[in-house]
Symmetry: D2
Subunit: 134 residues, 4 copies
């Protein structure tokens, strides 16, 4: 992935740890992609009515993660309070979506993979919260 | 606008006040559109380097508002904690973007209009926070 | 709505007709919102498995419309070829989603409203294609 | 990355080549991320006014790529015509953004990396166009 290189090439730079930021950005984008795919896979199951809550948390998490990934990837003139609030919202969305997917993980491989992507993103966001400037 | 009608046609319905939700959704989408346009107008100013902070807050606010507007517009199986965190992030983004645009409002009409859109969205999100289910 | 005012306040301006652009932008954002809501309402129906195709076309149309609405709302240094291709994709997404929603319109009010939003957006995009600069 | 696994776990499956689809999805998301970062880095350059066209093509490409990546990642009830039009729009956006970034690549490392991400995404979209079902 090219995220750390992109951070390194920014004219202003950042006081935050480069690898911590890069992980947060990459895992936000990956989680958004995986949740989009999981919502779609749930919809194709035999009885998607039983997956309604999972589809909804997937769609929410996909939207929150892409907004968060974009915000964290911007280094120019950051606002710590806005970043903090959005990363907190991302942690909440990932936590709820992971818990929901974990309930289906033993029967549905897409939910097992998606739960892992959400947990990875949640952890990376927690670490980014601790980094300088976020 | 058709937002209140769409809420009224939802099979599950919602315990939240229909007009409060509709206003929040519509103003999130409008603010996202206006911030996208304000970032672009700032970029076309004679000295966009002086508008870098405004462009960045506009881009963030555009992304946060669209994610929030989408989440609030979903009524199926809502999660109060996730919604609450995202609406809080939206309030923070709107507040910071409004304050930044207000500094340029006397000289730049696009910033004046955008500041108003951010303040309207901020107020609608505050009201939605008080509504049942958000 | 404030879209025409925002276009009028842009430092570079545009050779395209202001009202044609404003309608295209507003209807893209409205269609994105309405399709997001219709996908969610379909998911809450008694038998969402029968609505799988409708949900999928709604989700696609919501994503295409927001990308198109953002692009058309940028007036700085436009590229006619990219805009043209994206507006064409938006017309295709709206047409397919409208046709799908129309099949359910007599039984589901959310599909009736959504079909209209898609047809309105499709028509506004067709008109924008004819405008100078798009 | 987990994209090929997610495709493999989809209940309906796809007639398209799994690796071709997975590459297209992953490179769309990566290009969206990289273009978002390049727009932000251009904005932080000494004279961002000279980068206005680059910033604009980056923002467009970021929006088109995320919409395209989401659509291609949905396998349930695909519509070939809509997918085709959106992938064509993505190819156009990547081509124009790559050409613009290539002009700055010798002086700005972020533009060099971004041009490569756009070219990779353009090529993956061309290959996806040839795959069954897209």
């Amino acid at each position: 992935m090219n995220t750390a290189e992109m951070i390194g090439s920014h004219p202003q730079g950042t006081k935050a740890d480069r690898q911590t930021l890069a992980s947060c950005i990459e895992l936000c984008f990956r989680c958004s992609k995986t949740c989009t795919m999981c919502a779609d896979a749930c919809l194709a199951e035999n009885n998607p009515g039983k997956m309604a809550r999972c589809i909804r948390t997937n769609l929410d998490c996909a939207d929150v993660c892409i907004a968060t990934g974009r915000m964290v990837s911007r280094l120019t003139e950051p606002d710590a309070q806005v970043l903090h609030a959005q990363v907190q919202a991302c942690i909440a969305a990932c936590r709820v979506c992971a818990a929901e997917c974990e309930e289906h993980a033993s029967k549905m491989e897409h939910c097992r993979i998606c739960a892992q992507a959400c947990r990875d993103c949640e952890a990376a966001c927690e670490q980014a919260l601790g980094a300088v400037g976020v």
